[in-house]
Symmetry: C2
Subunit: 586 residues, 2 copies
């Protein structure tokens, strides 16, 4: 076994061609062993085994600096840079994150998790090098799916101007998470079909030099190509054609499914847990929208590279036809597109994860909200209980979205209320409406909810009480109900419980009325406190005698946390909250 | 005179070729007469006279829909669509805004002010049309300077996939605001030089059809080209080569200066007011940075299409050499570039207007702050007293920036404090630092300030008092001082005055100490209240007896307001504030 002896790229350089190929096989085995029991990004890493070996064979990391876009395909890089145990020893699987991480290794230069950033970051490393008078190679590794994002294009266009050493490896596996979208992909196809010789070349049009490697899973070809561009004095693109999921039949056949996955049976590729079969907001949303589409030909669903966010499987996409659009990883375009569709009488619904809506603040503000167009945006996994990698937190969408004028940001508390609000959002023509899908797992209340939300900023009292009022927003409504029950049982306080429903405005009439028989208002929100909902309540009551306690997450970048720990650290357990409440009331 | 009789595009269609050319001359005269006394976007509109006439001659607005990118070049469109008086009658000059505006005319489809959005918005109009079964033409007009922004690329790449009617007019005048940046511009040059025939073609590489018009200021050529693509069934680019500033000598010669301007002498082109000669933050910053560059070769200034924001005139750019980078209109790239430079030992300073930093929230969060790289970002015109077009407000940067973990956002109160903070920002290596340049006009205090801000979140008491504490942030510090003086003079209250300095954190020790002898804390901030600084103070004191009054701007999209009116509407005059304060204290 070679893989066990690789403690740094030095050992890679000492292997023969034959040995490197054996190493590739061992790495693939290790990846499959780990990912089938642990879950993770499968296809992207299987496709990059040979290219990563060749990069480390040719270049001298960490002096030469490799930046992986998204960095979900950096597992092989980790194996070759002193972190092989995290892929060989089951007890150490969680010693490394799923992305590059400078705290893990001097071979990692950035913590990265969002797409399309590598070329710009690499331009920065190159500029820093030039200012200091260094001479190392700077390499960006970007997958073709990431080329659809605007930041990648800005980086490529500016790279050309730098006129200095910069190597951009374009890993073309003909796929994004799902199939690729955008006119660019026709050009990549043409380039593949002409062995890189087509005169019309996207990269050359941006002023970049260009090399094509058709055999992107052949170590010798890759080594030859990388060696030929090492120490280049001009920015150059090395376009390599790889196969996503390479070497594992099920992943080669079903590339979209094996982009990322939970544990699976290695022999068959079937999921190990029943997780995939449980009801989730994604599938429910897809089915709901398909019904809406059948009723109204103007309804159109939009996603940006992640059709699964709204349950649009290949089968559902086929059924929706022209009423479904995936724009590729291009969130800015998605929002502007939705605004334009709404301006011309369509009924667009753009589904997006909380962590990615950050990529289009300006489009939400300028393209959408200034124009007050009635697009609908369900925001998924905006919750402490969602993705917990530091680069994929769902904690920041409330401050991001709710402080934009004209936006109506709704916080349903359960599945039933979510679909009531989504239905209204599609029917109404007055406002841009975002809807914060409640929590990570489906909450069922069995209750019936209003179907009309056009009278804005009207909160609902669901339990009338006195002394303490609990404003429990969205997914934290359940927490608020439980807190009220415990307050009653333990302290004899019959609290008022309120479902605020609207994140973007205050129900001043209700807030004012609470002053009569309440001394304390408690707010609960499933996200960061800073710039959020609770602070607005605190501002409202600032000049009065009403006391306010705001609960939510502290402003910090947390990484791979346990939900329970984070709740406790933010005093979000009912024991802690009751302690605080009694302290204020005493 | 033809211009006076144009009440709609119908009249344009009835003119002969000769008459259209006479009309062009009249329009140019009207533009120069208005802009030389009123100010506005000069070069962009002079260059688009013929193309706009040809568009309205060929297409049937408003059934056919024209979307202007940035829309600062839509003056001719306004003249031809019933708004000619706003360009002919001095008393009516302010009847129209400087951008397209659906509230003004059915010929305008979006309120637009930021760049690179037109193709995506037009894609939306086209998709809306197709869902409804319409057949109108959708036209996006985008200048070459706007092609550098990622959203434009996302739009172009997705346009190709639509396979439906969409006409993209690329107005190539070889300029952004300053000269163009990015590899793409070499390709535009090649296309111009080959009369559009070069095989390597950026637009074709994105899957779009393509037509070239070399004579972009010749009405007949333009009419022929537009007529040939009218009712196209596929997305097509019409690349027209125009001259920025066409027909006015000084604007043809000095294109950067005449992009936008205050009133000028028509005969010479010289500015009418002394405004250009007054000291401003831009020039001061440029000179300061040039000094820093001389001391340290690692210091590099970055701008994104607006070198003037930090005073980098062509002369200063020459002096800075490789220590100055303008990336074109590509804010996302600028932030990632700065992060990369900082990661490799450089000292990047990215200067940007408040309204445009909105375009890179995700890059601030992911590329910069998660990685905690020490880039410095001066934010200009983040103030109520800055640009007052609805699309260019400087009111939202505090909620946008200050709720991102790891960011240190500083609020200097005057010129001297700003440069003390900027100097520290460049020297330190621990934090991403943003600095909110105080106000629109230079505030001079003549005072000396700390040179070290590494102990975070330490506010400064500048006047010790009791009962009322005024936390006056940044440019509103002056307002806070005046309020304190008036409180003392009129009410005999000797208030404490505090310069918070740090927007991104609370000085809990000081806030706690205030409880001893203060009953009310007043916060003042020069921006929107929602998600801002004051709300965090209100949250802090929520569970205590301390009363809090937050002052700032309401969350709303205001347009072409008078500063005085907006201050009054937000109770920001000292009379109103004292009334509120006495109400709370009574």
């Amino acid at each position: 076994m070679y893989i066990e002896n690789i403690t740094s790229p030095r050992e890679v350089k000492q292997l023969s061609s034959e040995q490197l190929n054996l190493l590739a096989g061992e790495i693939r085995q290790a990846l499959l062993a780990k990912l089938s029991t642990h879950g993770g990004h499968i296809g992207p890493n299987l496709g990059m085994v040979e290219a990563t070996i060749a990069l480390h064979y040719v270049f001298d990391s960490p002096k030469d600096k490799i930046v992986y876009d998204v960095s979900h395909q950096s597992y092989v890089h980790k194996i070759l840079t002193g972190r092989n145990e995290a892929f060989l020893v089951p007890g150490k699987y969680d010693d490394v994150s799923g992305y590059t991480n400078p705290q893990e290794s001097e071979h990692d230069f950035f913590t990265i998790g969002h797409t399309s950033t590598s070329v710009s970051l690499a331009c920065g490393l190159a500029k820093g090098r030039d200012l200091k008078g260094g001479n190392e190679n700077i390499i960006a590794v970007i997958g073709d799916g990431s080329l659809s994002g605007g930041e990648a294009y800005e980086g490529l266009s500016n790279a050309a101007e730098m006129g200095t050493n910069l190597i951009i490896v374009v890993n073309d596996n003909e796929m994004s998470i799902a199939e690729n979208h955008g006119g660019l992909y026709q050009n990549l196809k043409t380039l593949r079909e002409t062995d890189g010789k087509a005169a019309c070349n996207f990269f050359r049009a941006l002023g970049l030099e260009y090399v094509y490697v058709g055999a992107g899973n052949d170590i010798d070809s890759l080594i030859a190509a990388f060696a030929s561009v090492k120490d280049t004095l001009k920015p150059i693109v090395v376009h390599i054609h790889t196969e996503k999921g390479k070497g594992y039949g099920p992943a080669e056949t079903n590339k979209e499914h094996f982009h990322w996955g939970m544990p699976f049976d290695l022999a068959t590729g079937s999921p190990k847990t029943g997780f995939d079969n449980e009801e989730d907001y994604c599938d429910l949303t897809g089915r709901f929208l398909l019904e809406e589409m059948r009723k109204d030909p103007r309804v159109v669903a939009i996603t940006s590279g992640t059709p699964a966010v709204m349950g649009f499987t290949p089968e559902l996409r086929k059924q929706a036809g022209r009423q479904f659009v995936d724009v590729g990883i291009a969130e800015e375009h998605a929002v502007a597109l939705a605004s334009g569709i709404a301006a011309n009488g369509g009924r667009p619904v753009y589904g997006v994860y909380s962590t990615f809506i950050q990529r289009c603040y300006d489009q939400l503000s300028q393209d959408l909200c200034i124009n007050n167009n009635p697009a609908v945006i369900p925001v998924f996994l905006g919750t402490i209980a969602g993705m917990n990698d530091v680069t994929h937190l769902g904690l920041f969408d409330i401050p991001l979205i709710s402080n934009i004028p004209n936006m109506v940001y709704l916080a349903p508390t359960c599945k039933e209320e979510y679909f009531a609000m989504l239905g209204w959002g599609i029917r109404q023509t007055e406002h841009p409406v975002a809807i914060r899908v409640p929590g990570a797992m489906v909450v069922e209340s069995g209750e019936t909810f209003d179907t009309d939300y056009s009278e804005l900023n009207r909160y609902k009292i669901t339990q009338a009480g006195e002394t303490v009022a609990i404003l429990a927003l969205g997914a934290f409504y359940t927490l608020g109900k439980a807190l009220a029950a415990k307050l009653e049982a333990e302290q004899g306080i019959h609290a008022t419980v309120i479902n605020p429903r609207y994140i973007t405005g205050l129900d001043e009439q209700m807030l004012e009325a609470l002053k009569a028989d309440h001394r304390l208002v408690v707010t609960l929100e499933d996200g960061v406190l800073d710039g959020g909902f609770g602070e607005k309540i605190a501002r409202y009551y600032g000049s009065s005698a009403m006391r306010v306690l705001n609960y939510g997450a502290r402003k910090e970048f947390v990484d791979r946390y346990a939900v329970e720990d984070l709740m406790k650290a933010n005093r979000l357990t009912d024991v802690q909250m009751i302690e605080d409440i009694m302290n204020v009331l005493k």
